[in-house]
């Protein structure tokens, strides 16, 4: 299996500084995403409630991804280097989660709650994971599903700012999928425009 290299994380103190905002801890990503949504967040109407519903679907995807990586990390099946990457990808999903929760709340919505770990394990058939490749394949499948979901909901957003957020989330998931696929020794997609088709 190919070696995966991940960049060093930013120092903790700096990350905490970036994330402290009015008593609510937001990730740098959340702040960045929210910055584009300020004007849109000032009013409330039916279009925004539809956008909130889509954001909550996205939040459900992020909850599931976080728990899937947790299941993989706790499986004892991952090599140290792969585990480091899994934790890094999980941290991306946590940043997405924080950004989505902050945006949903700013729009006056109620963020969907995370399910219990056992429910995720059952839904994702975690008991069938017997090797590192199984864990990576599950992660790759979920990342691909998230890519297609994010790309698929872009036209439904009433807000162009939120459509852009969905595109940025899809880009992160595409990066994850590409790394996972390479680690699994899978070929690149044969055709262009394969994502979201």
């Amino acid at each position: 299996m190919s070696k995966i290299i991940v960049a060093q994380q930013a120092p903790l103190a700096r990350r905490n500084f970036l994330g402290q905002s009015g008593g609510v801890l937001l990730s740098a990503t959340a702040i960045s995403l929210m910055a584009g949504c300020e004007t849109m967040a000032q009013s409330s109407n039916k279009s925004e409630s539809q956008d909130v519903a889509i954001l909550n679907t996205a939040l459900g995807l992020e909850h599931e991804a976080i728990n899937a990586y947790q299941l993989g990390a706790e499986s004892g099946l991952l090599d140290k280097g792969v585990l480091d990457v899994a934790v890094k990808f999980q941290s991306d999903h946590k940043a997405h989660r924080d950004a989505l929760i902050a945006t949903i709340q700013k729009l006056g919505g109620k963020p969907v709650m995370e399910m219990k770990m056992g429910d995720y394990a059952k839904a994702l058939k975690a008991d069938t994971l017997k090797s590192q490749a199984d864990v990576l394949a599950l992660a790759a499948k979920l990342e691909m599903g998230a890519i297609n979901a994010y790309l698929g909901v872009i036209p439904a957003f009433k807000s162009g700012d939120l459509a852009k957020v969905a595109g940025r989330l899809a880009a992160d998931e595409t990066m994850h999928w590409t790394v996972l696929s390479q680690a699994l020794g899978r070929p690149l997609p044969n055709k262009a425009l394969s994502f979201g088709a």
Partner: protein, 122 residues
């Protein structure tokens, strides 16, 4: 050149799609690519489980948190309603929570054919 065979083929294709006779094999591929981000056949995830969805009352899967709008819709998932749902969920059930749609009628027919096949599979 005699265009009758082409016209007949096009009419047959339109007739097939109008009556929901899609291709379940292609539908399985489309389902894998477009639906499994949120759905599974046998588990509630971001969306409800899909096995035996054809003919099921909307909002009736146990332990799945539906939107109030869908829960009150009184819809049954006939193939015609599934087609309308996939084409534009918000138009069929205002206030529902699925932001994804399938614009092409042939794609919808194939996905519904796959769901119909899986409905009859234990």
């Amino acid at each position: 050149m005699n265009g009758r065979p082409i016209v007949a083929a096009m009419l047959a294709l339109c007739f097939a799609h109008a009556h929901g006779a899609g291709d379940p094999a292609r539908g399985a591929e489309l389902y894998e690519a477009r639906c499994t981000g949120c759905h599974s056949l046998d588990a509630n995830r971001i969306g409800p489980m899909h096995r035996r969805v054809v003919g099921r009352k909307a909002g009736s899967v146990r332990d799945y948190a539906y939107s109030p709008a869908l829960g009150k819709s009184k819809l049954t998932w006939s193939e015609a309603n599934l087609d309308r749902w996939l084409a534009n969920p918000e138009a069929l059930v205002p206030g529902q929570k699925m932001g994804y749609s399938v614009p092409e009628s042939a794609d919808r027919a194939d996905i519904i054919a796959y769901l119909r096949r899986e409905t009859s599979t234990p």
